[in-house]
C-alpha cells in the first residue's frame, strides 16, 4: 500500500469495512446498473408492472403474453437498479485544526472520508469529493474507480486547515454541480452560520439528494475540561482571551450545547441525517457507529 494510503486507510479499518455495507436511505440515481434502487422505471432486469401502450412507445417492450391473453397492448415496466453516487464534502477550515489527542478534527475528517470512499467504491458505487473552507477549494468528479480513493488522498494531502468556515456557502456551491441525486456527506465541525448551512442543505434536498451531516468534534469541545490560566487563541480570526476556563465552564457548555441542539434540530427539520463524530473515539468506532445508525433495509 502506498504511504499516502496507509496514512488515511489503515489495515484494521479496511478489514472492518470489508464486512460493512453502505446503503442509501432512499433512491439514488446512477449511470450504471448497480446494487441500489433507481428512481427510473425502465426496461431492465427487475419487473415492476405494466402500463398501457401509447403510440410512440418502443414496441419491443410490449408484453405479448398479456396481448395473447387479453388482446390489450401493454408495456412491461422494470425497476432499474443503479449504482450509488456519494459526494464527500470535507471542511478544511481553521476551526478543524483543534485536536486534543494528537489528531486534529481535520485529520479525523480526512480519515473518515477516505474510509467512506473506500467502502462505497468497494460496493462498485461512485464517489465524488470536495474540500472547502469559506468556499469550495477542490472538487473531484465522481468515479467508481478504486483509484478515486487515491485521488482523494492526494487532494487531502497538504491541505491544512486554513480560512474561515462557511459550510452553507460551500454546500450551495457544490449543489450546483452535484448532478443527479445521490448522497451528500458533509464532514465538518459546523462552527459556521447555521442558517446558511441549512439553506445549502435545503438546496441539496431540493435536488433529491440524501444529506448526511457528520459533525466532527473534539472531546474537549464537548466537556471543556481545561484548567489553569489559559490564553485561548480563536481560530478563524476570532481573537484571543486569557481566562481561567474552569470559571466559565458551565456557561461555555450551556452555549455549546445550545449550538448542538440547534444543529440537531435544524438537521431534523431539513430531513438531513446527523451524526456526531467524537475524535476521542477510534475511527472504526465512529464509522461503525455511524453506519449502524443508518437503516439497513431496502426501500420501495
Amino acid at each position: 500500500m502506498p504511504p499516502i494510503l496507509s496514512r488515511y486507510l489503515r489495515p484494521e479499518v479496511i478489514s472492518q469495512l470489508e464486512r460493512i455495507e453502505f446503503r442509501p436511505r432512499g433512491l439514488v440515481e446512477g449511470n450504471l446498473a448497480g446494487g441500489h434502487k433507481s428512481p427510473f422505471h425502465g426496461f431492465a432486469v427487475e419487473f415492476a408492472g405494466h402500463r398501457g401502450y401509447v403510440p410512440g412507445d418502443d414496441i419491443r417492450h410490449i408484453d405479448w403474453k398479456v396481448y395473447y391473453k387479453s388482446g390489450r397492448y401493454v408495456l412491461k415496466q422494470y425497476e432499474e437498479e443503479t449504482n450509488l453516487v456519494a459526494h464527500l464534502l470535507l471542511d478544511a477550515s481553521e476551526s478543524m485544526e483543534y485536536g486534543s489527542r494528537g489528531t486534529s478534527k481535520l485529520e479525523c475528517g480526512k480519515q473518515l472520508a477516505s474510509a467512506l470512499a473506500y467502502l462505497i467504491l468497494n460496493q462498485r458505487d461512485k464517489v465524488g469529493a470536495a474540500i472547502f473552507d469559506s468556499e469550495l477549494r477542490v472538487t473531484l468528479p465522481t468515479s467508481n474507480s478504486i483509484a478515486q480513493v487515491h485521488h482523494m488522498m492526494t487532494a487531502y494531502e497538504g491541505r491544512g486547515p486554513t480560512g474561515e468556515s462557511q459550510v452553507g456557502r460551500a454546500v450551495s456551491q457544490y449543489a450546483a454541480k452535484a448532478g443527479r441525486r445521490g448522497i451528500v456527506v458533509v464532514l465538518s465541525d459546523f462552527f459556521t452560520d447555521l442558517e446558511r448551512l441549512f439553506d445549502g442543505v435545503r438546496r441539496l434536498k431540493f435536488d433529491k439528494h440524501e444529506v448526511v451531516l457528520l459533525q466532527i468534534v473534539d472531546d474537549d469541545e464537548l466537556t471543556f475540561p481545561l484548567r489553569g490560566m489559559t490564553r485561548f487563541v480563536g481560530l478563524e480570526n476570532l481573537g484571543e482571551r486569557i481566562i481561567e476556563p474552569q470559571r466559565l465552564r458551565d456557561s461555555y457548555l450551556r452555549k455549546f450545547n445550545a449550538f448542538l441542539d440547534a444543529l440537531t434540530a435544524g438537521a431534523e427539520l431539513c430531513r438531513a441525517d446527523y451524526f456526531r463524530v467524537n475524535t476521542s473515539l477510534s475511527l472504526t468506532a465512529n464509522l461503525v457507529g455511524y453506519l449502524n445508525s443508518r437503516p439497513t433495509g431496502r426501500r420501495t
Binding site: 476551526s95 469541545e221 490560566m229 490564553r231 487563541v233 480563536g234 481560530l235 470559571r247 465552564r249
Partner: protein
C-alpha cells in the same frame, strides 16, 4: 490598641503579594488554539462581570488574610489605658499555703505554680522589673520586695520560696503589692496572683479584700491577673486531721492516757468514707483507728497511748494519704511527768506550829485520796521567797495569805500563767490589798483580772450571845465546772461552811470578753470563788483564808473535794503554749544567768537557729523568742545547764480550715473589684505564661483573635474559590 512588636507591622507590605501573584499568573499561562471560540466568547461575554467581581472578592480576601497574619505576628493588644509595649513591673504573689501542696495531676499545685511563674519571668520583655511575694506572709524574709530587673534572681527567689503552714493572707499580700506598684515608675504594672484561691481565705476576707483590690486597681495602668492553680470545675474531696490534744494537761509517765483526735471531710457530696489513722509517739506507732467520716460533720476519735519516760514527747496523728497531704497530719508536743507539782507560797507560815500555817490545810486537802494517775507533789515556801521561785518546775502555784509580791515576780507569775500554767490566790489578813490592787489585779490584760479588793466585811455577831457570826455559801450561786459538781445531795456539807470575814471585791471593770466568772458567792453576795481562763492558763481567786482564820471552810468536809475539783479544773488543757498556730511567737524565759548560754532551736526542716536573749528588766529574765514558726511540725529548743542538757519542745499546726479546698471563682473576684473588674484577668495554669505577658501590660492580647479571623477568611476564601470555580478547584 497597641502592638508588642510594631516593627513587624512592616509585614503588612506582604499584602501586595496576592496582587503580584495574580498579575504574574496572568503572564504565565498556557496557549490553546481553540476552534469553538465563538461559544467561548459568548460565555466570556455572559460571565465576565461576575468573574471580575469574584476575582476582586478573592483578591481582597487574600490581601486581607496576609495583612491579618502580619498583624497577628505584631501581637496587637487592646489597652484600656494606652499602655504600650516595653518594660513593665510584674509583682508575683505566690500562694505557699498548705493547700498548695495538694496533688494536681501528679505534681503539687505548688510546684506547678512555681514552674508557671518561672515561665512568666522568662517571657517578660527586657527592662521589666519583678517583685516576688509569698501570699501567706508578704513580709517573709524570703520575699523579693524591691523590684529587680534581674529576672534570674527573681526566678531563684521563686524557686526558694518556702512552703508555709500559714493560710493565705490575700489582703496583706495585695496591699503589699499595691505599695510596690505605687512606688514604681514603670508605666505598665501587673500583679499576678498564683493561688488555689481557697474560699476560706479569700471569701472570709470580705470587705478588707475588696478595699485592697480596688486600691490596687485604682493605680494607673495596673491589672490583676489571677492564675488559678486548683481545680476550677469541682471541689476535690479531702480529709483533714483538724484536732489533736489530750484530756489532761499533765501526763503521767507509764500510764495509759487518752488523746483526742478529730477528722473532718470536706466534700461536695455526702456519704461515709472510711479513713485509717495512726498515732505515733516519738515516731513510734502507738495506736491506730479506722473510722467512717461524713462530709457534713467532724468525727472525733479517741486514742490511748503511754509515755515511758518523763520529758517532752512528739505526738503525731496521721490520716491516710489523700489529695492534700499537708492537712493529713497534726502535731502535739506534750510533757510527761511523774507527778503534778504544786508550789504553795505560804504568807503565814509557822514552822513551829504547822497547824497554824495556811499550807497545812491545803497540803492535806490536795494529798487526800489522790489518784494514782495524777500524783501530786507539794513544795512549800515562804511568801518572801517567791521572787526566787523556779516556776518552770511547777504546774500550779498557790499563794496563801501572801502580803505582797514584788512587781517583777508578779509580772513573771502572770506571764507564766498565761503561758499555760495555773495560779490560785487565797486572801487573808496579811494581804496588802493596795499592792494586790495595783499589781495582780490592776487590769485584765496585764494582771490576773481587773478586781478591786475593798475593806473587810465581818459577819455580824449574835446580838444576844455575842458569838461570832458567819456567812454561809450561797448554794444557788454555784456556777462553773468546779462548784456545779456540788449540788443536791452531793453538797459535801459545803452548805454548812461558815465565813466570818471576807473582802469586798469589785469586779465591775471586767468585760464579758475577759472571761471572768464568779463560781461561788457568800450569802451576803460577796464573791467567794472567782475564776478566769487566762491566755493558755487558768487562775482562781478565793475570798477567804486557806486556814480557819476567816471561817471553817478549811476544816469543812467539802474542802478537800472542792480543792481537788479546783485542781482538776486548773489542770484541764487549753491550747497550750507548746502547741502554736503558724507565725505565733514562742517564748523561752530563763534566769538572767543564762544570758551567755547558747540556746539553739531545731526547725522541722532540719535547720538550726541560735536564739538570742533579750533582758526583760521588769521580770529580770533572759527572754528568747522565735517568730518564724511558718512550718508545720516540731521545734526543739536545747541549752545546757551545767553538765545537763535542757530542752523544750513545741509544735506548729496548719489551720484546720486548710483542708477545705473549695475555691472562689472569677466572678467573686470581679465582684470584689467592682468598677475595676475589667482590669482583672482570670486564667489557669493551662494558659501559657508568655501569652499573658501582653494581657498583663494593661490590656488583652488580640493576636489569637486576629489569627482566628485570618484562618476564618482562609477557609472562606477556599470555599468561595471552589464555588466560583464551579467546584473544580
Amino acid at each position: 490598641m497597641g502592638f508588642l512588636h510594631p516593627i513587624l507591622l512592616a509585614g503588612l507590605a506582604l499584602g501586595a503579594l496576592p496582587i503580584i501573584i495574580h498579575l504574574l499568573t496572568r503572564r504565565r499561562h498556557k496557549v490553546v488554539r481553540w476552534g469553538a471560540m465563538k461559544y467561548l466568547l459568548e460565555a466570556i461575554e455572559e460571565t465576565s462581570k461576575r468573574v471580575q467581581i469574584e476575582d476582586l472578592i478573592l483578591l481582597a480576601m487574600r490581601v486581607l488574610i496576609i495583612c491579618l497574619l502580619a498583624l497577628a505576628v505584631a501581637r496587637p493588644k487592646f489597652n484600656r489605658q494606652a499602655a504600650g509595649p516595653g518594660p513593665r513591673l510584674a509583682v508575683l504573689l505566690v500562694d505557699n499555703s498548705p493547700s498548695m501542696q495538694a496533688d494536681r495531676g501528679g505534681s503539687t499545685r505548688w510546684d506547678q505554680a512555681r514552674a508557671w511563674a518561672r515561665s512568666l519571668l522568662n517571657s517578660l520583655p527586657a527592662g521589666s522589673r519583678v517583685a516576688v511575694l509569698p501570699l501567706c506572709n508578704p513580709t517573709d524574709p524570703a520575699a523579693l520586695r524591691d523590684p529587680t530587673a534581674q529576672v534570674l534572681l527573681a526566678a531563684d527567689v521563686v524557686d526558694e520560696l518556702p512552703a508555709s503552714a500559714l493560710s493565705a493572707d490575700p489582703v496583706s499580700a495585695i496591699r503589699a503589692a499595691s505599695e510596690i506598684v505605687g512606688g514604681s515608675d514603670l508605666p505598665n504594672r501587673s500583679v499576678y496572683v498564683l493561688s488555689d484561691f481557697q474560699a476560706t481565705d479569700w471569701r472570709d476576707s470580705g470587705n478588707r479584700l475588696a478595699d485592697a483590690v480596688r486600691a490596687l486597681l485604682a493605680q494607673q495602668n495596673t491589672t490583676l491577673t489571677a492564675v488559678a492553680c486548683g481545680e476550677q470545675d469541682r471541689t476535690p474531696s479531702n480529709v483533714a486531721v483538724t484536732r489533736l490534744d489530750r484530756t489532761w494537761r499533765v501526763i503521767k509517765v507509764g500510764r495509759d492516757i487518752q488523746l483526742n483526735g478529730e477528722l473532718q471531710r470536706f466534700a461536695a457530696a455526702d456519704g461515709d468514707m472510711d479513713v485509717a489513722t495512726t498515732i505515733q509517739i516519738d515516731r513510734q506507732k502507738a495506736d491506730a483507728r479506722s473510722a467512717g467520716v461524713q462530709a457534713s460533720e467532724p468525727r472525733r476519735l479517741d486514742y490511748y497511748a503511754r509515755f515511758d519516760a518523763p520529758g517532752d514527747h512528739e505526738v503525731t496523728l496521721q490520716s491516710a494519704s489523700d489529695i492534700s497531704p499537708a492537712d493529713n497530719v497534726r502535731y502535739l508536743a506534750v510533757e510527761a511527768r511523774e507527778e503534778v507539782r504544786v508550789l504553795i507560797v505560804d504568807g503565814d507560815r509557822h514552822l513551829d506550829a504547822p497547824v497554824q500555817s495556811e499550807s497545812f490545810y491545803l497540803r492535806y486537802a490536795l494529798a487526800f485520796g489522790q489518784s494514782d494517775a495524777v500524783p501530786i507533789s507539794v513544795d512549800i515556801i515562804d511568801g518572801e521567797d517567791i521572787r526566787n521561785a523556779r516556776l518552770d518546775r511547777y504546774d500550779v502555784v498557790m499563794l496563801a495569805n501572801v502580803s505582797q509580791v514584788p512587781p517583777a515576780a508578779a509580772g513573771e507569775l502572770v506571764q507564766w500563767v498565761r503561758a499555760g500554767h495555773a495560779a490560785v490566790i487565797f486572801l487573808g489578813d496579811l494581804v496588802d490589798t493596795q499592792s494586790y490592787n495595783s499589781g495582780f489585779l490592776a487590769d485584765a490584760k496585764g494582771g490576773f483580772l481587773r478586781a478591786h479588793l475593798g475593806a473587810p466585811i465581818d459577819a455580824p455577831r449574835d446580838r444576844q450571845t455575842g458569838a461570832v457570826g458567819l456567812f454561809n455559801l450561797a448554794v444557788a450561786s454555784f456556777a462553773g465546772p468546779i462548784m456545779t459538781f456540788f449540788s443536791g445531795d452531793d453538797l459535801a456539807d459545803l452548805d454548812k461552811a461558815g465565813f466570818s470575814r471576807a473582802l469586798e471585791i469589785d469586779l465591775a471593770g471586767n468585760t464579758a470578753a475577759d472571761n471572768v466568772r464568779v463560781d461561788a458567792a457568800l450569802s451576803n453576795g460577796v464573791p467567794l470563788l472567782v475564776t478566769r481562763e487566762l491566755g493558755e492558763g487558768r487562775f482562781a481567786l478565793l475570798n477567804t483564808t486557806a486556814d480557819v482564820a476567816w471561817g471553817n471552810l478549811a476544816i469543812n468536809p467539802g474542802f478537800t473535794p472542792m480543792m481537788q475539783r479546783l485542781l482538776v479544773w486548773l489542770l484541764a488543757p487549753t491550747a497550750t503554749s507548746t502547741n502554736l498556730t503558724p507565725s505565733q511567737t514562742w517564748e523561752l524565759s530563763l534566769p538572767l544567768e543564762t544570758m551567755d548560754t547558747p540556746v539553739t532551736l531545731k526547725r522541722p526542716d532540719g535547720r538550726t537557729v541560735v536564739l538570742e536573749p533579750v533582758v526583760d528588766a521588769a521580770r529580770q529574765r533572759a527572754v528568747r523568742t522565735y517568730s518564724d514558726t511558718t512550718l508545720a511540725g516540731f521545734y526543739r529548743v536545747t541549752w545546757d545547764v551545767g553538765d545537763q542538757q535542757q530542752s523544750r519542745l513545741f509544735s506548729v499546726n496548719v489551720s484546720s480550715r486548710e483542708g477545705d479546698l473549695a475555691a472562689i471563682d472569677a466572678g467573686y473576684l470581679r465582684e470584689l473589684a467592682g468598677p475595676a473588674s475589667p482590669d482583672i484577668v482570670w486564667e489557669t495554669l493551662q494558659t501559657p505564661a508568655d501569652r499573658l505577658v501582653g494581657a498583663r501590660a494593661g490590656g488583652r492580647e488580640l493576636w489569637l483573635w486576629v489569627l482566628g479571623a485570618a484562618l476564618g477568611l482562609l477557609v472562606a476564601e477556599q470555599y468561595l474559590g471552589r464555588r466560583f470555580s464551579g467546584g473544580t478547584r
